[in-house]
Amino acid sequence: MPQASSDTVDRLWRRLVTRVVPLCAVLVLSACATPEGYVARDGINDPYEQRNRNVHAFNKAVDRAVLRPLSRGYDQTVPDEMKVMVNNFAGNLSTPRMVVNNLLQGDFGGAVTNTTRFLLNSTMGFAGLVDVGEIAGVRAVDTDFGETLHVWGVGEGAYLEMPFRGPATQRDAVGRFVDFFTNPLPEALSGTQNDIRIGAQAVDVVGDRARFGQTIDSVLYDSADSYAQSRLIYLQSRRFALGGGGDADYEDPYATGTDPYDDPYEDPYED
């Protein structure tokens, strides 16, 4: 009985968090969508640059000491087929979270696609080890709560470098936090299953570091200023991903004035 009631409390709490936190996030972020006017040299809204640089140095030290060596070991010892399976398995586990975000964005087509993939991969794909959806030509409509906020009209806010998680914007930082609660899977799985889920996702972080190893190495260790490079690359690729759904025309209240991102096709022939 106490078990059941604590379960109910747990569920209520999750509901509360999934509904109320986004609302608060929107309120907080709409306040920070208009920054205090600080703009870094690249035209990037980065009022916390000094703090961010300290976090960047920390993240780089963690990468050098732990993540990079682990990913190299992983790359050398794990067979390619198994790497793909780990990646598929972890990806499948994050699909329910994507479906929730598809729905919050009103993207019903995306929700149907991702649900289909989840059902196919969880059954015919041996609990997600094989990406049957991909083989059948059904690609994931990758999304997260940061994108949901974007769709809801929240500006990206200032640039942030998060400990362990790396580059983000204020909007994406809130999104990552909220996404702990948008995944319905932890509620549906048993304790042991959840341990496996968390373990697989941790291994997948190492796998991703291995997969993009050379590119990440070149940004972190070969750039003259790895902080400025990773900031620029993160913002560009994130904005590109968010515009990919035809949202490129959405106005970003932050990106006005002299921001070079206003005009990614800047004309170098103009003097």
Partner: protein, 205 residues
């Protein structure tokens, strides 16, 4: 596939040349406006060359030499280099500018050659071209094994006097902006000394 595109390119350039020669008898050499077809033709040839290199199975160093040749042939390197140097270019002497452009060409070929080397086993397919402002955007798709295809976009113009690309985007990441940040940081590290920055750049490639 590669030879096919190259042949088409050669034939169409020959045809254009013949056309020009025929006109030349009566008209002053006309400055033909760039067209969507010409932009696409350039990128078709460029991509065919890149695909040729990544399928060649050559050594890493040999590939970088090939990529440098490709950059020199298809890219407006002086414009890209001077954009990367930004306002600091204004206080550079002509000799420094020449030196920088040469070293930059090698640096950019190796750097982007590394990215293209990750495409080994896959290939790039040219999609469509469209006019944007004063130039053309040509989109292509990198199709790699075990990975969702992603966009590689080239911006093409003839304002250097030839049809050349002056910017490229790999999954939305803008080469001009990225290199301006990098060269700017290299200059900062040397207290703004252009010669020292050029020496560092040479050592890095």
């Amino acid at each position: 596939m590669k030879t096919d595109v190259t042949r088409r390119f050669t034939i169409s350039s020959l045809a254009a040349g013949a056309g020009l020669a025929a006109f030349g008898a009566t008209l002053p050499a006309p400055a033909m406006a760039m067209t969507r077809e010409r932009a696409k033709t350039l990128v078709d040839a460029l991509v065919a060359d890149i695909n040729g290199v990544i399928a060649s199975g050559k050594s890493e160093q040999a590939m970088y030499t090939d990529f440098e040749r490709i950059f020199a042939r298809y890219a407006d390197v002086p414009t890209i280099a001077s954009y990367a140097l930004g306002v600091d270019g204004r206080r550079a002497s002509q000799a420094q500018m020449r030196e920088f452009t040469t070293v930059f060409q090698r640096y950019i070929s190796v750097k982007y050659g590394r990215r293209f080397r990750e495409f080994i086993g896959g290939q790039i397919e040219v999609q469509e071209a469209r006019a944007v402002k004063n130039f053309y955007e040509v989109k292509s798709l990198a199709i790699l094994r075990g990975q969702a295809p992603f966009e590689v976009t080239f911006l093409v113009s003839d304002r250097s006097g030839r049809d050349l690309f002056f910017n490229l985007f790999i999954e939305g990441i803008n080469m001009l902006l990225t290199e301006r940040t990098e060269i700017g940081a290299m200059l900062d590290r040397r207290g703004g000394n252009i010669d020292a920055m050029i020496a560092d750049l040479r050592a890095s490639a």
